[in-house]
Subunit: 254 residues, 6 copies
């Protein structure tokens, strides 16, 4: 695989499912890519991925024929530029609640004049086959920023966040939304409050001409959100695949 693929697909209006990996095993990420996923996401926020496994994972995902996205730790904007240097095609940043958060996210991930990303994508250049001068020209468009909208504050600021140049997409975190919207009382990603917030987010994304994505526990939920305008979905995780498979085999046996 050469070049970038994720931004092109999403900008063309395609729906893109992503594998979601937290187990810090590049081989697991590669196998998911090889099953035909156009994108695989490595989770550094709540998953066990860290820099070395992420660097190896990005290469493994590309070798498996997919685009790599990384969810960075909260506030980990410095991590964002490092994983872009390593060949990621997108960054999901948690808890982009304010204009300031969004600015910091853009600063770390877009080259001037949009942001202040520092130059050094030699590994990205090796993996994509995009030569260095071309990379500078292409990167601001080809590398996507997903701002996670997952708190009451973020909902309030969602229009301004998504309107900001350099923010390419919203990404819904339904579990945190359910917690913050109930002040910590309830964990229910399918609650009415979450659903209303999702409406607000998709409206803001469409108004700003930006992509909308979401973490969804199941393909069914993803299909429902696709109807409402979302295009990028985490449809299930490595842990879930493994646990479900192991559990089902054992049950058949018993």
């Amino acid at each position: 695989m050469t070049g970038f693929s994720l931004a092109d697909r999403l900008r063309a209006g395609e729906t893109v499912p992503t594998g979601w990996c937290g187990m810090a095993s590049p081989l697991v990420a590669e196998l998911i890519a090889r099953e035909g996923y156009p994108c695989v996401t490595l989770d550094q926020q709540h998953g066990l991925y860290d820099m070395p496994t992420t660097f190896a994972g990005i290469a493994a995902i590309r070798a498996g024929g997919a685009a790599a996205v990384v969810r960075i730790p909260q506030g980990g904007f410095s991590v964002a530029s490092r994983v872009l240097d390593a060949g990621a095609e997108g960054i999901i940043a948690p808890m982009i609640n304010t204009i300031e958060d969004a600015k910091a996210f853009v600063a770390a991930t877009k080259f001037p004049p949009i942001g202040a990303r520092s130059w050094g994508p030699s590994r990205a250049s090796q993996l994509t086959g995009v030569h260095k001068g071309d990379y500078l020209k292409a990167a601001n468009d080809a590398v996507l920023t997903f701002a996670m909208i997952e708190t009451r504050t973020a909902i309030k600021n969602v229009d301004a966040i998504l309107a900001m140049p350099g923010i390419d997409a919203a990404f819904v975190g339904p579990s945190d939304l359910s917690i913050t919207l109930t002040d910590g009382r309830t964990l229910d990603p399918h609650s009415k409050e979450v659903d209303a917030a999702i409406d607000t987010i998709i409206a803001a994304a469409q108004k700003a001409g930006k992509i909308a994505g979401a973490y969804t526990a199941t393909p069914e939920r993803a299909l429902e959100l696709e109807q409402r305008g979302f295009r990028f979905f985490a449809i299930a995780s490595d842990t879930a695949f493994l646990q479900a498979g192991a559990s089902a085999a054992l049950k058949k046996f018993k």
Copy 2:
């Protein structure tokens, strides 16, 4: 979990399914154990496990509440004693074709007077909670040797192999059986030739009063072999769980 559990269960006539792990991720092995498997096997022959991941994997499996078994590389009898020192409760040895192979297997895995295993199970002692003197007394019974019967030669020698003191079980390798019984022409673990060999093996095991186990691609096949007297089964692998889950989720989505 303290003490040993695998030998007790199998000697009591229980059927024991084992998870089968080749992906060299101790966390994957642990998650399978946590789904309720009484045993998880780490594969060093055709899987990607090596010593450090096996050492970590054995501890992870025990932390997940299961017994750990290791399939060693062909001829890797020295590896066998190392993984027993690290807390494994069973060893599956590939290609035990002759009396000499079986003797070398026993020598590496059983203490005198049965074999010549060298003393040093300090990690096993930590993980099982069995103190060192007790470990010496318990180990020859508590740690199981599975001789893989998977060639024409092994079938010929199966009675003598299984009669040998220190060999606790037969373990059928149906893919290699199908290849060797057809002189390399066919890979079909469910062929007539393989089925006939399986009859020979179970008969030999029952005659010798030894346990019979098999690698089975599916729970269905395992249930069939259970009817025929087998008690220890590799019912599916980490790779298979992951690929099947990832593939099914993608299909639902498309």
Copy 3:
């Protein structure tokens, strides 16, 4: 071991010694746990622990029967939420000098409404056996925040820091105290200035109804501080155990 144990013990007034590990070897941490320590702390600030070894270390400590605490790097609040997701029962944060520092610490480690911790404790849930909904209810109480008081500024703000909801404990860093209180002139964790600061800290903790802990080089010092009201102690480190043992053996031999 299932569930949480550290908060219960300390809230019950028990004295809890913790092993202190900087060598980035999960096995070392596990062995210390197995010697009977109720708690083992992994040091990411001045020790060599990083995320992968910390993730593995937390699991190893729990397998060894103890609670895991992590000292995060200075300002590493994002790290704090990640290691809590991985199953830590406590976080020691260096250089909590101001109200702002304390707020950021609480935000990262407590769920709403106290803080703004993001949801995702799947590894913690596996390791503790506490199901996800229960984890949300339990975590704000069961997971402890230790604010390190180790500068002149922190001493000035100690009452306000410890009064803050979500800050569960003070933790004294005597070496840094001695340096900052002498403007860099002296390293003496047992100096008069440090002793006076310790008095201020314990008074503030007792006034706020919070736990008091300290790094102590020796069990003797820990016993002295226990008299003065402290309950959580780092009594010695992996490096110290190893160096002292190696040195003593060599001396006997010479």
Copy 4:
């Protein structure tokens, strides 16, 4: 090798070339040191180095007879103090654009009264052979801070940044300079704009009595900058050595 060497050489006016390593292989770093380099730099910003490889790399570089410097990720001041604890003799910090950036850099890397570095250099003490009390006295002089000047804003503030106590050196990042000075249009580290900026930087360094260093792709460029007053140079990278050697051998063969 015992003690520190980098600060002494540079303060004595010597020119010091540094190897530049991004491949996250401590052995590669060690081999470069063994070729006679007085200094080897590990790159965590655009290279693949992370904490464990950096910790191992610092030890390997010292074993190879050289001083170790680390370029930290942007804003990674907490990382700076950790790698100093691990034995680094210098820190290169990217994007020191403002007085606030410079203050944060000094705070993390110099002990009081200059900064607020936290105490804990036990690994540094082991590797350098400098005992702990002596380390406290020596470190503020012996450990060098290199502030990267690589944006329009930084050029504007360069006098104030370099005048700050605790900032020991400027380090030019010519690629980022070329991008920021052309608002993202051009990548040309040898452009006129960059050259003019370099003049400004060297003038500021000389005025402040501080060291000047630069990343230079080639020994030739380094020699030119040496004429202009620079003394510390990254003259080529591990990746470049490897690619050039492999390419040349293949060409000879074809």
Copy 5:
């Protein structure tokens, strides 16, 4: 890259240079592949490669567009089948001195009826895209065995070794030849004795219709041996590239 490439090239009479890697860094191996090498060899005998780095290295080399070969440790025939399962296209076995050595090598690397390789190439199948049934049919031809001829005994037996079905190639080890031919007195891979042995080896290979390869320190030596009929060459190593580049840059600078 899909499928196999090395055997096809060599059987078509092409000359194939191979990179030679001992530094146990898969990234180094990948970079050499990306410079255009059709083949990269990982050295487990005298290099620092072990199983996990070899598994990762094979995947990295394929991702870089080249075929992977592994030199196994002396007598490591069990390792041979494991690295073939992991996707290697060739095995170089040291010290194939006798018919028995050659038989053991073939047994481990060729499926029945030629050898006794055990079935399990799932990783090879993923990496090459060759489905499992096809792999069984293709492997005995597509995977190459290189017998190292590097002792007096081996020279004596070279005709019989190379005549054996399943041995695909001779590979000259000139350093060991020089030592064994002088009974340990001299290390000179270009000595007269070595040259005479090389004549014997190439004659035997041509008589048996087998490929001839050699370790050559330099492209110049490789070109000379190509004239004499050799087709597979290790023309330089990762360590040599790195040391030469680092040394040359430093010299220019001084």
Copy 6:
């Protein structure tokens, strides 16, 4: 540290204690070396060391100022030559019971004309500073082979084993001796049978003019054996140092 040191000391009649490491942490091994041990041994037989940790450990031990010895797995003669290539100064081989075992050990570890070790010590050359031609001349003397005498059979053959050129030393394994001499009934390294065997071994070593070493759990036992003529002692292990230190600190605290 440059050159070799272990053989010189032992041949000069010095008593040499060795640290004994099984925890697979190179840093642990290095710390023990830094406490003043002239030698540190890495245990691959019953410890958790494997190749990558052994390679790193050897370098770390040398950096710490000591000579590195490796105990290889039983029958792991191929491992022996690899760790010598990596810079070890001695190899302890378990279960050298027969002349054939001893021959295989010598073959792997001594260059012609004594043995058949294959050439490739580039890492050893880097670490010791001994250039390659000199290494060939020096190695057979400078690198020591310790044959473990630990079974009834070995006792019977001990004179012939120790008389063999290329076998430099006997090394007593008292635990296995106690087990084999009682046919598996007793584990008592201080039994009368073991003591008598020790007398036989020291007599054989002195007759053959070879060094005698032993694993001893305590410095006290080592001093006793020194009286009887032994000169090389494993006086305690990393695990023991750590457990004893942790346990003692906890006791003081309670």
